[in-house]
Assembly symmetry: C2
Homo-oligomer: 277 residues x 2
């Protein structure tokens, strides 16, 4: 998918919501437990209930891998279901991979070729050759960790490099622009650090940013929008647990829709006030 197509979907749906499929077997309603692929069955219900309110879905690999081969099958079935039934959605593999070149190439095969995700999240620690194999595919994307939403993000990402006169996360934002373009590179910037969006936008004004941390992690959508929006929206804001587990009973899909709708309506309001629709 191109950035123009993504922006068009955002305008059509008045939403820049990404639904994070952090599907935890231990939190599924009892009714799902008996099916052969409970993670998939749950996802299907969540997707059907929210697909008109979101522009992107982001399965989190850890949750599928923790269920072994059956989990991996649920992941494949989920991506296939999304592709076949909702071809306009942007699909992100939240994998945070990154290894030496020949290994990154294998991860790229797994996620961008075989499973046909549009994008994969990538850790920058190992540098250029760990990232580049993912951007050899037309209209596919890498989403590089820059400034994450968790407490530990301060351990290394804020280190100041006097040689470059910038902090590590800014150096990642800068270096990555030598490797790819705004047509194949996005960055992860956590909503819990909304005050940093201004600084991120100084270095990467035109890139799309994937923003976790709204909802269960406590980030503010208004704050993120204020400093993070650009003239093509430039934001995909993720919510996972607050939508998936809005309700632990059989009515979980309706509750997920209500929760997603709440966010989508906030987003529609934001897009209107910034004259993006």
């Amino acid at each position: 998918m191109t950035s123009a197509e993504l922006f068009k979907n955002i305008q059509l749906k008045k939403s820049f919501l990404c639904v994070g499929l952090d599907t935890d077997f231990n939190r599924l309603p009892k009714i799902m437990m008996d099916s052969e692929y409970p993670l998939f069955e749950f996802n299907k219900r969540i997707i059907d209930a929210t697909s008109d309110l979101a522009v992107a879905y982001k399965p989190n690999m850890a949750f599928y891998e923790s269920m072994g081969t059956a989990g991996w099958m649920s992941l494949e079935l989920t991506v296939k279901y999304l592709r076949e039934n909702y071809p306009d959605l942007f699909l992100i593999a939240d994998a945070k991979r990154g290894d030496i070149g020949n290994t990154s190439k294998m991860y790229a095969t797994a996620f961008l070729e075989n499973m046909d995700f549009d994008a994969i999240t990538v850790s920058p620690y190992m540098g250029a050759d760990s990232v580049k194999p993912f951007i050899q595919y037309k209209d596919k994307w890498i989403i590089i960790l820059a400034l994450t939403s968790n407490e530990g993000s301060h351990d290394f990402q804020m280190i100041f490099d006097p040689g470059a006169n910038m902090r590590l996360f800014e150096k990642v934002l800068t270096k990555a622009q030598e490797w790819g373009s705004i047509e194949n590179t996005m960055f992860v910037v956590g909503a819990t650090q909304a005050d940093k969006f201004k600084e991120v936008r100084k270095v990467a004004p035109d890139h799309f940013l994937l923003v976790p941390g709204v909802g269960a992690q406590g980030g503010s959508l208004e704050e993120v929008a204020k400093y993070g929006l650009n003239k093509k929206c430039g934001l995909l804001v993720n919510a996972s647990r607050s939508i998936l587990y809005a309700d632990a009973t059989d009515t979980f899909a309706d509750s997920a829709r209500m929760e997603a709708e709440k966010i989508q309506q906030q987003m529609a309001h934001i897009l209107e006030s910034y004259h993006l629709i």
Copy 2:
């Protein structure tokens, strides 16, 4: 496995070799192609041919994930086969994971609980809470990326932090010692940067180091040993492609053994000259 048990195995086998199971479907001898789980069948042959020469095995997740559900099954079968037939081996999941706390916990479940690996490689970019969930298990290990063997390692790992008076990789080595101990934490240090081992040992004299980059990537075992050995060996040196693909014909297992034996004999010589056996 404890570090004492690992050192005992190193002394018994006169080897600190880790065989990297970077099992690439496209490089398998034709004879393997017809089996249901070709990656597993190949691994089994490699393991049987080399298990007395190595102390550790390290399947590389990317290669299994690139084969989808069947690949994941091959991975599970490989670990089960190793556990049942060679209980003294140290098993490393080369996964380079790392995410926010609740997600890292899921990866820990996948690799350290369900599959019963002894250790998992972890990327430090997201800091403390992305790493800590992996060291909640008795006698299980994290192996944190510090200074990697690839060209891109220079992009970020060498950034100098004047506040801490050290480079990023040294800061990772230092910070990680606040999170874990020499009984549950190792570091990845690439053999292609042998001159850096002296500096690594200043900060982390007693930790085990996992050393990729010998063999196909060109690192020197003697150089690594010279600066990297400590009084309990403290090194696991990995070789993958040079062993796995020593021979592309049906005699691949014999050739793999010959290649592994060559390295093991060098290692025996090194351990003797440093009076470690």
